[in-house]
Symmetry: C2
Subunit: 808 residues, 2 copies
């Protein structure tokens, strides 16, 4: 395997051409092998990635400006940006030179070899970061966060290690187990339950082949591992972890029409496998389940099947009902182009593409990107003052239920797959307005840095409703509602999650997630208590999506308090009320004193306002300045209580929101391998709650967004973003003397009266009269590469990214 190592640095160097640090390009060797796809990408990325599609500038003075973002230099280095290739390549080479690690390159590795599955920047501790950001401190030392997949062992495990400080210096660089951010102190090690994925595939095909006669009769198909298989068997993920390692599987149809409807084709025949240990010969078939009857052995199942009166249920078969293409009569006037937003005078925000630093109006922030959770934001400042140190997704679960063992057993923890690898190129004009600015992102896989072209978009929008208005007998005052958005979309298997952060003129930051894509359905028989009957033999299998976010607000420093302002009904007698008591309401003001009180709810009747304030920084009127956290949609948490599936692996899902003390040792509420040991997870969020004081401390709010999803026929073929939506607003609360949106000139006051012409005050607004060339807003999708990293289905953690086309 050593022969592969020498190619690594070169391979990483090749990929650096796609990275955001473009000013290094000229110093690098020519690519040894660049695919056509890469060359195309370079051609497009020549200006540094902030332009995604060709916006034509026109010379005519009458033409409107092209919407290119204004450039700016970030005031500080983005200390959360990923490793450069110049940093990463030596780390990988150095790791391969560590004999004790006994590593094999991904392409050469088998089930009993050790591999590198992650090479990424270790996000610096907040403590170190603040001294750099706010003081005269140097930038925090950079470390590589490595995940190793140790499979050369009877007891395979993943291990997180740190390598650094960077850059690598042979002879002095060391690695150490990464333990401090985890509640379980096991040298950063978590067992790998899925080390033998290739063997398992073979084993399942043997099981499937043993009843090929039955699957042929029931489903007109077999699953034997051949290319012409028309059915497949896959199942619960993570595995069941009581009394051995168990996986229930179901047969599913394989799509034949080119659409991705596999999760809509359950076939209702299930089998359980005991997968304990690494010797496939000792794995055991535990039985079959069909039409609510459990058969302990294949023989018993076959005997029953061939008995008189055995009820054979119909299969689910793909077809146009499961295809997403246009169908049906064209809607009236739909052949005319729908409304379209344009930017007459170009973009109104600043981007430092290299540093992933963005400034819009009074907001500025840095963007980071990780394999586990994709895009996140750091150091969000408003009017020059930090308000949020960190904001991003921590984990997402999809917890199903059912009378059948596969749906009942399924509770995905999506960071196991990772949001980063599946944050694909955005579709200009669809995922984001055609005039958006784009950024690239990258992640590590199989000794390469893989870059997602144009996978983050930035744009301004003007809402179809104003921000402020008031009419009187003399005048109307009204303000346009223009806001700024940053978005990425991750398709984790069947579901497409759109992650949106937006910034508003009232000083608020909005967090949203929407879900589209294919549902994971269930076979209908006997599942009536767990979903609607939505197609021939199909249940819209009920499930909860819960997405946990970290919100590290810093209001005028890190010493903050979480206050509760609750509207409560009361009966009161007042000095002026002539003795009569009245039923009214009042405010109950309190705060969270310590972590024992830190598990929170939005409260009955949405009557509780939670706010992070600085009680040492009252405003001129004595109210503590702060930021309020407010649900923008119906709040929710996980329906299932004490989930047997998840055990302790997702304790962040039990309440609407939580508050803890910010600690360098508690940076994340979840670990991507929590699914591998749900009863003893490497990050047990519950362990964060140990009574520490929260009064004027550095606080972290962990809030959940999500949807209770009971799919109906309208989820076929795909769930739509309009209804599968959750959001939260982070709003100034007594933070400024007044509404900051008064600063915008994009407002008008019209004075009228007595039938005379109105008098208009427009505050110096621009009045463009240029012509917008719509051709410039027509995205050239022929250059869309669709990205290239697609989740294998079912997922194989040892070979996680099914196809990396275009990269040699």
């Amino acid at each position: 395997m050593k022969s592969a190592i020498s190619a690594l640095a070169t391979g990483l160097a090749v990929l650096s051409l796609l990275s955001n640090v473009v000013d290094h390009v000229s110093a690098r060797p020519n690519p040894k092998s660049g695919s056509k796809w890469m060359k195309d990408s370079r051609a497009r990325g020549g200006l540094g990635g902030s332009r995604s599609h060709p916006i034509r500038r026109q010379d005519s003075g009458a033409s409107c400006a092209a919407p290119v973002a204004q450039s700016i230099a970030a005031p500080k280095s983005n200390i959360w940006a990923g490793l450069t290739d110049a940093e990463a390549a030596p780390v990988v080479a150095w790791l391969f030179s560590q004999k004790d690690l006994n590593l094999t390159t991904a392409s050469d590795a088998g089930e009993w070899d050790n591999t590198i599955t992650l090479v990424e920047l270790m996000i610096p501790n907040k403590t170190d970061s603040l001294s750099y950001l706010d003081g005269n401190g140097t930038a925090p030392a950079r470390y590589a966060h490595i995940q190793l997949d140790h499979r050369a062992s009877e007891e395979p495990y993943f291990q997180d290690i740190l390598v650094g400080p960077l850059p690598i210096k042979n002879g002095t660089t060391r690695y150490e187990p990464l333990t401090y951010p985890y509640t379980r102190q096991t040298q950063g090690k978590v067992r790998n339950l899925e080390a033998d994925s290739d063997s398992l595939s073979d084993w399942k095909h043997n099981v499937s082949a043993s009843i090929a006669d039955i699957t042929l009769e029931l489903f007109n198909g077999t699953s034997t591992g051949l290319d012409n298989d028309t059915i497949d068997a896959w199942g619960q993920d993570p595995y069941w972890q009581e009394d051995g390692i168990i996986q229930w599987n179901q047969f599913w149809g394989l799509p034949t029409d080119g659409f991705d409807e596999g999760t809509l084709l359950p076939l209702g025949l299930y089998f359980a496998a005991n997968l304990t240990g690494r010797d496939p010969s000792k794995w055991a078939l535990l039985g079959w389940f069909y039409n609510d009857v459990f058969y302990p052995t294949t023989e018993e199942f076959k005997t029953a099947f061939y008995s008189e009166g055995f009820e054979k249920l119909k299969p689910n078969i793909g077809g146009s009902w499961a295809a997403t293409d246009q169908k049906g009569p064209v809607l009236p006037l739909d052949t005319l182009t729908p409304p379209l937003a344009v930017t007459p005078q170009g973009s109104r925000y600043f981007v430092d593409t290299e540093q992933k630093y963005i400034k819009w109006m009074d907001f500025e922030f840095y963007v980071a990107f990780s394999r586990d959770t994709g895009m996140r934001l750091f150091d969000i400042k408003y009017k020059g003052q930090r308000i949020i140190y960190e904001l991003g997704l921590e984990e997402a679960l999809a917890h199903y239920a059912g009378n059948d063992p596969v749906q009942s057993g399924t509770a995905y923890l999506d960071t196991y797959y990772g949001f980063g690898p599946y944050s694909f190129q955005l579709v200009a004009g669809y995922d984001c307005p055609s005039y958006a600015t784009y950024l690239n992102t990258s992640f590590y896989t199989a000794e390469t840095t893989h870059t997602h072209i144009n996978s983050i978009c930035l744009f301004e929008s003007t809402a179809d409703y104003p921000l402020q208005r008031h009419s009187t007998s003399d005048y109307v005052s009204i303000t346009k509602n223009t806001y700024f958005t940053i978005r990425s979309v991750a398709t984790v298997g069947n579901y497409d999650y759109a992650f949106t952060y937006s910034f508003h003129l009232d000083g608020s930051v909005h967090v949203e997630v929407r879900a589209s894509g294919y549902i994971q359905s269930a076979y209908w028989a006997n599942n009536g208590d767990y979903g609607f009957h939505i197609h021939d033999a199909l249940s819209g299998s009920m499930h909860d999506h819960v997405l946990n976010y970290k919100l590290d607000l810093d209001v005028l420093g890190t010493a903050n308090t979480l206050t509760s302002t609750k509207l409560v009904p009361t009966t009161e007698t007042y000095p002026w009320s002539f003795g009569g008591a009245r039923n009214t309401m009042k405010l109950a003001r309190s705060h969270i004193a310590n972590e024992d009180e830190g598990k929170l709810s939005w409260g009955e009747n949405s009557a509780t306002m939670w706010s992070v304030v600085n009680t040492d920084a009252p405003n001129d009127f004595g109210e503590a300045r702060g930021y309020r956290i407010m649900p923008a949609t119906s709040p929710m948490h996980l329906t299932v209580q004490n989930s047997t599936n998840l055990a302790k692996a997702a304790q962040w899902a039990t309440h609407d929101l939580f508050v803890t003390r910010q600690k360098d040792t508690e940076p994340k509420s979840a670990h991507p391998a929590n699914s591998q040991d749900v009863h003893d997870p490497i990050v047990d969020f519950d362990a964060f709650f140990d009574g520490e004081s929260l009064e004027q401390e550095d606080l972290v709010v962990w809030f959940n967004l999500g949807m209770h999803h009971v799919p109906h026929t309208g989820d076929l073929p795909n769930t739509v973003f309009t209804s599968a939506h959750a959001g939260l607003q982070i709003l100034p609360l007594n933070y400024l003397p007044g509404d900051p949106s008064r600063a915008t000139i994009n407002q008008v006051r019209v004075e009228y009266g007595s039938g005379n012409k109105s008098s208009i005050t427009s505050f110096g607004q621009a009045q463009p009269t240029c012509a917008v060339d719509l051709a410039a807003y027509e995205p050239d999708l022929s250059n869309y590469v669709g990205d290239v990293v697609i989740r294998k289905f079912p997922f194989d953690p040892n070979d996680p990214y099914f196809a990396i086309t275009g990269i040699d």
Copy 2:
């Protein structure tokens, strides 16, 4: 007073020129007196009111189309449209000819005269309407709904009467008390607590003058009724109705800077008046309240005031903090024009302006407009099938609380003022996109029909996020999210409510309300339990906004059932679970059997799905077809329990939503005069719940939208629409075989792979390459007339519309 009557028909005829029935214009006499304002309006309205501002069509083939709505003829008459002037004018004349009514024209009436306060179409009974809409029945007979203000009596009252059927035929036309839609059977009569508004004004000025020495010292102002008053006294509305008719008043500063900040200038000095009876000489001053001390007499108050140590609190004084104009440094790049939506190929919807009938994609509906509740929608059909018979606001309350008697006593019921009269002209390019289509609305006041020019807007928008997407290893499929909106905005005193209904390609209808404008604040002293301290001596007075809507869904006919599908935690043992119980979840499906169960909640953890289904109309898979009702924001109802202020006048506010049997005798959940007798309101919503079966009956859902509002500094000068927002979605549930948005051609599928050029399927989408002339999208606000009917503050029910400029 008879002399005035002959002018009435002419006056109404004049106004018909502004109405939407424009084809009658040529048959009418020339206006006797048309103001400049009216003439301007005619010139603009010449095409029938569907165009609000001059969009220039250009002849060049390269220019994009102008966004003029397509015309269409409504399939049926709009039987909910307001009375035409041809109908209304004879009704008014006829009423004046009824000697027993003893009516006086508004301009001539004093406190002891009877007047007409409403002339409006009586919305036909649903029973009658359906036979016309669905069968061969004739259109329902039209009746005029009249409200009379009987003040020529010791016991003044409002009375609702019906006049009809129309047209008026002298000799046969009769009037009858309107009683059948009300739960209280009192001949349509409700007492008028505010008959003596002029006398009260004088009386209050006398009280104020009696302490002019004090107000001068405390506030540097007096309230004596002179033009140069700089303070005013006004107070709780409705009056307190226990132990006499009591009103607490407060002194407030009068704005001097031209801005409408009066509700931000409370002065903290209060007095109570017993206003029982019609003899002002018997009205009694009940005492004073200042800085938490009650003084039963003026003498005692004065004595205290001039005693040593009396604490004099500082007044609230207006200033730039309360003005809405632009202030502060211009934001970076804000001088560039923000993004702007355009319609390259013109509008994509149909409007019958005369019938107020609208068709967009597979949706069609009629618009109605009333004095009490403004805009509402009728007969919403989707794919040719009625889904909603009626959708509209019923009532809105704003319930305050406080340690002071005015805020504690305030619980506005806004239909008393009416939303119709305050639904002003919309500001093109701000309230709605500049390319919107507009409709006029009208209401009756003082023997005239008053028309709001361009007070309803219609437009399409494309959201900044897609409707559907899915990425796979081979392709991405993604759909534009274009939707249709109808909006009106009503400024009821200090608050501006924007009412929005939108229609979506997934078959859903969204209902939204947003609030902006000035808060009604409180004086800070001793009010710390009731709000934040937001300015010098100002409390952001806590209050609940609750807005009740009527939603009459008809799913495949009127025989419907309200079902509940609830996600519930459970512990289950399954045939395949090897004996182990697991903590999981399941669906609890049930339905509301009768009205005793009809008061509903969205449930803990947002886990309850409410749906109106037709159990006799299962889909192909056996699920009842239906429409789901889902909160789009955090749901809420009134915090106050058994409100002493509201007593029985707003029983619709006690829960999140309600379901009752649709009855012609229960058309509305509230009456605009409920505030006049809160203990015995003319519509007691609670009386609707009398155990009637709701299984496969015609149902009405009454749902609440609203906000718990605890204003903070960011509400100064105005609350903003971004955070003061509530919404609900009405979504197909197993109603169609699949997602109907698949019909749109505005989607794309891009196939990619292995670095080759992508293959694009765009389903025949238009690809406009024309040039958009932005000058055509620049609204000409110099023609904005601002409308002309402004609520007097404080409100005077006998002279409700302060200024009707431009109408002679």
